[in-house]
Symmetry: C2
């Protein structure tokens, strides 16, 4: 049978045959090598052709069918069901089996599968030791579990026993979030960040992505250009595209985003610490961004994802604190300062946007999710324990940051160009070599139990591979092991 898939080229990249096989076929479909309508071999034929088991082929076909890349026609076989020729922005309405997806649904399906996936470096689980710089985690050993649990248990008693009856007539928490938590956040922002916001402007969200997506849905119409950083958090262009907008990537330099007179009314930016490069936007540039927004009547979304952890230097004022004309939406999150499973973030909105944002959120959650944890956090903040915990973690993370920075600079500066930063929970570098050399290096490190996060981005010098190393959850020994492995493989 005349059927070729470039399976061999994938085996090195993925830990299991099944994954390699899946990606080989999927990429062939997406790239148009296997055009829409192509009949695929039966699982028996393909197993014989490729040397993998028939069970594996069936599993891969099932995955592709579930994702809508292929469809099984009863009694006739399996066919490619994805049109690579189709222009983006014109999603088909009939591409999910025969469920007619809306244009919005079609755009959802065009995005990559997962935001926080197991990552591009698949860890094969065989190395005796590991150093996982990719994991999305905090230092749980140092978390004040007892104090947190005390708040949790007290709040559980109050909430579960009294809810809907505390005032005898069903007082329900609004979609905007627990009132006490909104007040605590307002106080914290005033004290720690210089942001003067009333609790009514603060809406609690289930992690910052909810704030990003709701903002995009509210402000981005079909074809609207939206300015995003490159490299940047990939959730942002995803939210913009799904809303029907067109993300316009703007490169960052050593001082962060370069302000310009963009033809747009919406900008997503990470001034506190550019994601992922870690550079801090200068006050001068902050002022320029605000001038641009005032001039254009634009909105700036300030994604302040981890500026709590500053290792040295003075913090600059957030855009929101500098904004005298209510053009900034400030997004913050507790997922990096507390426990990753506690999905609490917040948006600080211009007063006139608070109601639209709340109505949009209420469409998905008329009553807030995870209210118990919101109340627990409010109590934890009110007792002063949150800021005590932050101060302690700042010291701990600063030590880890200094240690890992030094190790990476000492051992791997030939391979990576490290970007200096004053803050944050990861260290960023640009790969200095070729893509092929990088792929080989990455794969060898993964085999030795060492992995990290990566991004393909532009900076002022063009498209490059960037890597970043999360360290909060790692011990000194793990960081030492990880860097030693990388150095050994880089030198080999």
């Amino acid at each position: 049978m005349d059927f070729q898939i470039p399976y061999q080229g994938y085996t090195g990249k993925y830990p299991t045959k099944m994954q390699a096989f899946y990606h080989a076929i999927k990429d062939s479909i997406i790239s148009g090598v296997l055009p829409c309508g192509t009949k695929l071999p039966s699982s028996r034929e393909l197993a014989a052709l490729s040397g993998v088991s028939r069970g594996t082929v069936n599993q891969v076909y099932d995955m592709l069918a579930a994702e809508g890349y292929v469809e099984c026609r009863v009694g006739r076989g399996t066919f490619v069901f994805y049109d690579a020729q189709q222009r983006p922005g014109e999603p088909k309405r009939e591409d999910r089996d025969d469920y007619a997806l809306s244009p919005w649904g079609g755009r959802v399906m065009e995005q990559e599968a997962q935001l926080y996936s197991a990552g591009s470096v698949a860890y094969n689980g065989k190395a005796p030791r590991t150093a996982d710089f990719h994991a999305y985690a905090t230092d749980l050993q140092r978390f004040p579990h007892e104090e947190w649990n005390r708040c949790l248990h007290a709040q559980a008693r109050l909430l579960y026993r009294q809810e809907g009856q505390a005032d005898g007539r069903g007082g329900l928490p609004p979609t905007e979030g627990d009132q006490e938590l909104r007040e605590q956040i307002a106080q914290y922002l005033r004290r720690a960040r210089g942001i003067a916001a009333r609790p009514e402007q603060i809406i609690v969200v289930n992690g910052s992505m909810q704030a990003i997506t709701l903002t995009a849905q509210l402000l981005v119409g079909e074809g609207d250009k939206v300015i995003v950083e490159s490299p940047g958090f990939k959730g942002i262009p995803r939210a913009v595209r799904t809303a029907g907008g067109v993300p316009v990537s703007v490169p960052v330099d050593g001082q962060g985003i370069v302000p310009a007179d963009w033809d747009s009314r919406l900008l997503f930016v990470t001034p506190g610490r550019q994601f992922p490069t870690g550079v801090v936007l200068s006050l001068e540039r902050r002022r320029q961004l605000l001038e641009w927004a005032y001039d254009k009547g634009a909105v700036i979304v300030e994604d302040d994802y981890d500026s709590e952890f500053r290792h040295r230097g003075m913090p600059l004022e957030p855009l929101k604190a500098l904004d005298g004309r209510e053009r900034v939406i400030h997004i913050g999150s507790f997922t990096k300062t507390l426990l990753p499973s506690v999905r609490i973030g917040y948006a600080v909105l211009p007063p006139a946007l608070a109601a639209p944002f709340a109505k949009a959120k209420a469409l998905f959650e008329p009553l807030p999710a995870g209210l118990l944890e919101q109340k627990t956090l409010a109590a934890f903040m009110a007792s002063g324990q949150y800021e005590r915990h932050l101060r302690r973690m700042k010291r701990i993370y600063s030590r880890k940051y200094e240690s890992l920075s030094r190790r990476l600079a000492d051992s791997l500066s030939e391979r990576f160009s490290w970007v200096k930063s004053d803050a944050g929970l990861h260290i960023f570098g640009w790969w200095r070599g070729s893509t092929q050399a990088y792929e080989r290096f990455r794969s060898q490190c993964a085999d030795a139990g060492v992995r990290w996060s990566e991004i393909r981005g532009e900076d002022s010098e063009g498209v490059r591979i960037g890597v970043y190393f999360h360290f909060p959850h790692l011990t000194e020994e793990e960081m030492e092991y990880g860097v030693a492995v990388m150095k050994r493989l880089a030198d080999s």
Copy 2:
């Protein structure tokens, strides 16, 4: 100054002057009595004209400004900023101060403010006793708090201390929800509802509204007609309209929705117990709906919001259990069986729609919200305590149901035409008299501390006022008091 608002007519309806004032102005704006661009009196002038305090007027102006009905032009005064003439479906892009809302955002703003609001009957807090049939609550006295808290504490210990580190490499929970919970739900649905679904088809959501809205976003395009029940849950047309669709209201009769050859590819329906009338859809009609879906290639969303509580008769199989061709999305929720603040629901999807649904959810929540409560519920179900609790609550709620039904039938059958039901947590009736008589009755009852929920809907006899009485959280004494008050006021 020549400025009239019909404030007097509102004072009886609202508990505070401010609220009456707010609604009086807002309704005048919405109805076009105060057209877009009208200059409103200064707060000083309006206070003098109306006899309310200037502070109250300012507060009302602030609320209207925050919601975008009026805008304050610096140095010039307050102006109406809402165009009542504007055709629905053509939302303005410039109507929120000068923040340009997207068409989606514009549609969000066209919806009513809150889904679970304090309700149309405002309770004035002055009555010595109350009977609140409107409150959204369960019988917390009978909830097994100890058992639930034991699960909660055990799960908190496990989750918070091990997360991201249980397997050494940051295994993150998927947006689809806790795996153990999805398995428990699958088992429960098989056992209790006859629905054969694999855990992969089950996606945990933050209450059923999230499932409704994500489904509408995924399947409804601009101008698409979507069949909805009338009367019905008002969240559904809201989600449809926001997605750009056109809800087509279909009246229900004494057996529920009347099947027809609708020109549509999406139907939202409550077969288990029509909301809010409570009638159960016959097997014959269930089959007709499925035939329609097969014929049209349509999707049916089965909103199964409280069929767990069946007081007599045999349960009919859910549409999802009868569906041989994967055209049904089944939505269920734990908010009525557990604690209202625990916002956990689920959608059972056709396999090919599971991935689009998960990707859409991930756009808002790449990691699930309220994971601790998901894990607590999974443990609670796995230990058998959930079904034990359900059995116990069925007995308790059946007794309350029988008692309230009898009281209402005995005392208020002249005013309401009660709809018989075999299941559920509320009792529904149609008002027999005029709208004015109803408004007077409702307002007098509210003054005596008795309120309920209401809906304006169609049934086969035309547009009517429907009322429904939630009882789970009420004691025998409260129900007795409530019905006695209503009877006294109805007879006066």
